[in-house]
């Protein structure tokens, strides 16, 4: 489903990824592991189209991402994101944050998803009126709402306690069961037990 060939990335003159080539199969729970600074976030951003690699080619469903005409609708239709910090929009309510991301035909699912994630009662609250764990669940709901083929998560539990971390991982595993491919970058080895594929990074190279 994702094929990366010879991906390299520089920030200015500093090279942080070195000629990475690998494949990610559909329906997997992929764990991108490595120490802090090893290049996980950079690689995840490239895989998820949020960052252009300095060189190399990325195919998603056999289409080179350079050739995608409407990257906006590609992102909205195919990809869901969960970041370390929830990155909700502060002036929109929980419901509106999800509705902002939702495709028109998926808006009817919002309440169902909020219910499944146990945050329906907060739907009219603003991000600063709920807890960190609840915010991250909203972010997961936002990633799920369009039933994307792939979800990318960068340290999704980095700012959560272990109870909330487990909730988030269970939610992602649920998505995998429903056929979504999930790619998680984390230095938290706890998730190895969920993974169907592990890509280990060290200093920008695959071990």
């Amino acid at each position: 489903m994702i094929k990366a060939s010879n991906i390299s990335h520089f920030y200015g003159a500093e090279q942080v990824l070195y000629n990475l080539s690998f494949e990610i199969k559909e329906g997997g729970f992929v764990f991108l592991s490595g120490e802090s600074g090893s290049g996980k976030s950079t690689l995840l951003s490239i895989l998820s189209t949020l960052l252009k690699p300095s060189s190399g080619e990325l195919l998603i469903d056999e289409v080179s991402i350079d050739k995608i005409k409407n990257i906006d609708s590609f992102r909205q239709n195919r990809i869901g994101f969960v970041f370390q910090f929830h990155y909700l929009i502060n002036y929109l309510s929980v419901y509106e944050n999800i509705a902002l991301a939702a495709l028109e035909e998926k808006k009817q699912n919002i309440n169902k998803i909020l219910e499944e994630l146990g945050i329906l009662e907060f739907s009219s609250r603003y991000p600063n009126e709920i807890s960190g764990g609840q915010r991250q669940r909203v972010a997961v709901a936002r990633a799920l709402v369009n039933e994307p083929k792939i979800i990318f998560a960068d340290e999704p539990t980095g700012s959560l306690d272990s109870k909330n971390s487990t909730i988030v991982y269970e939610l992602l595993r649920e998505a995998v069961k429903n056929g979504t491919t999930v790619v998680v970058a984390s230095h938290d080895m706890q998730i190895e037990s969920y993974a169907t594929q592990i890509i280990r990074l060290k200093d920008g190279q695959i071990l």
Partner: protein, 357 residues
């Protein structure tokens, strides 16, 4: 609508933009209105009272002008001349007031000053403007080294005239040692005016004869007020506009993270720019209207502020208001849309991380 939500959930930022636009717009309104108002008031005084003005040749200001009053007789005999009067305009301490305007005029011009009590002045008498009258409870006032009896009180449409005194031109002539400062002539046929100007010019080589229209246009004092107020208000406005643009771009920059998230969620550049456009439009339009209302309020109050003695008056012209509106909107949009456009071209993840740093 998302633009309204963004504005109302970030009241501090909104207030910051709102007040910076309001202040910039008010500054230009007040500066330009007051100068337009002062000039308008003087021009009105001269234009409404005559079609032709006669002053001493080569004199920069009517204060220094001396014209032979006996010209009046000859002028009145000219065809198409309906009336003419002479005036001496001066300033002098009056009683305990350090300086006030003195209007000496021929008796046929007294009716310009509407009596609110008493009678028009005879020789050795004065009438006081309504503002000045509040300062004197006495029957007489000292002007120069002479004492005048107060025969009445007048009011006037022209604010600053109410801060002065009116007397007979002969009395003023003794005080200021001249015959007349200027003569104003009215005619019943506008197309004969140039002809009359020529005839009067021929009567005396020491005088300068102009239509009041041209006089107002060429009058140095007006040009100075106009030019300096233009410079000051242009500078104030330019500073205000740059302030607006930089506040807008500061605020847009502080929202890069939000734009990055929206891009990651699949929102188009167009979506982001469109919302920001409406936010900026709502904000700058409402600030503009607020500034307009405040300025009009202040301008309406100016003539009633005692301290200003009616000297400061302001009128806001439609063209100034429209010009300011257009440039305010332009700068606000420029300041917000350019950084937003640049941001929308950046890789979303870099925007998100920048916002976090």
């Amino acid at each position: 609508m998302i633009a309204l939500k963004a504005l109302s959930k970030n009241p501090f930022k909104s207030l910051l933009i709102f007040s910076s636009i309001t202040i910039a717009v008010m500054a230009i309104f007040l500066i330009s209105s007051v100068s337009q108002g002062v000039i308008g008031m003087y021009s009105k005084m001269i234009k409404t009272d005559g079609d032709i003005i006669i002053t001493q040749k080569g004199i920069s200001d009517t204060f220094f002008s001396n014209v032979d009053i006996s010209l009046l007789e000859k002028i009145d005999k000219l065809e198409h001349v309906t009336s003419s009067y002479a005036m001496i305009v001066g300033a002098s301490p009056i009683g305990h007031i350090p300086i006030a305007g003195i209007y000496g005029t021929t008796a046929n011009h007294f009716s310009h000053y509407k009596l609110s009590s008493g009678k028009y002045p005879k020789e050795g008498e004065v009438i006081l403007g309504a503002n000045l009258a509040k300062q004197f409870a006495t029957v007489g006032v000292n002007i120069g080294n002479k004492r005048f009896r107060i025969s009445g009180v007048y009011s006037s449409d022209i604010g600053f005239e109410e801060g002065g005194v009116v007397m007979n031109i002969e009395d003023a002539g003794v005080l200021f040692n001249r015959s007349a400062s200027f003569i104003l002539v009215s005619s019943d046929s506008p197309n004969k005016i140039d002809n009359i100007v020529k005839k009067i010019s021929g009567m005396d080589s020491a005088i300068e004869v102009k239509t009041t229209k041209n006089f107002v246009k060429e009058y140095n004092q007006f040009k100075i007020i106009e030019n300096s107020s233009f410079v000051i208000s242009t500078l104030a406005f330019a500073m205000g506009l740059m302030g607006i643009a930089s506040v807008m771009s500061m605020i847009v920059n502080s929202r890069k993270e939000e734009f990055g998230i929206m891009r990651a969620l699949g929102k188009s550049r167009f979506f982001i720019i469109k919302n920001l456009f409406f936010e900026t439009l709502i904000m700058s339009l409402s600030a503009y209207l607020f500034a307009l209302v405040l300025s009009l309020g202040i301008l309406a109050m100016l003539p009633h502020i005692e301290m200003l003695q009616g000297y400061v008056n302001g009128t806001l012209s439609l063209s100034t208001a429209l010009y300011v509106l257009a440039s305010t909107l332009f700068m606000a949009l420029l300041g917000s849309l350019i950084p937003a456009w640049i941001a929308s071209k950046t890789d979303p993840i870099l925007l998100i991380n920048q916002g976090c740093a």
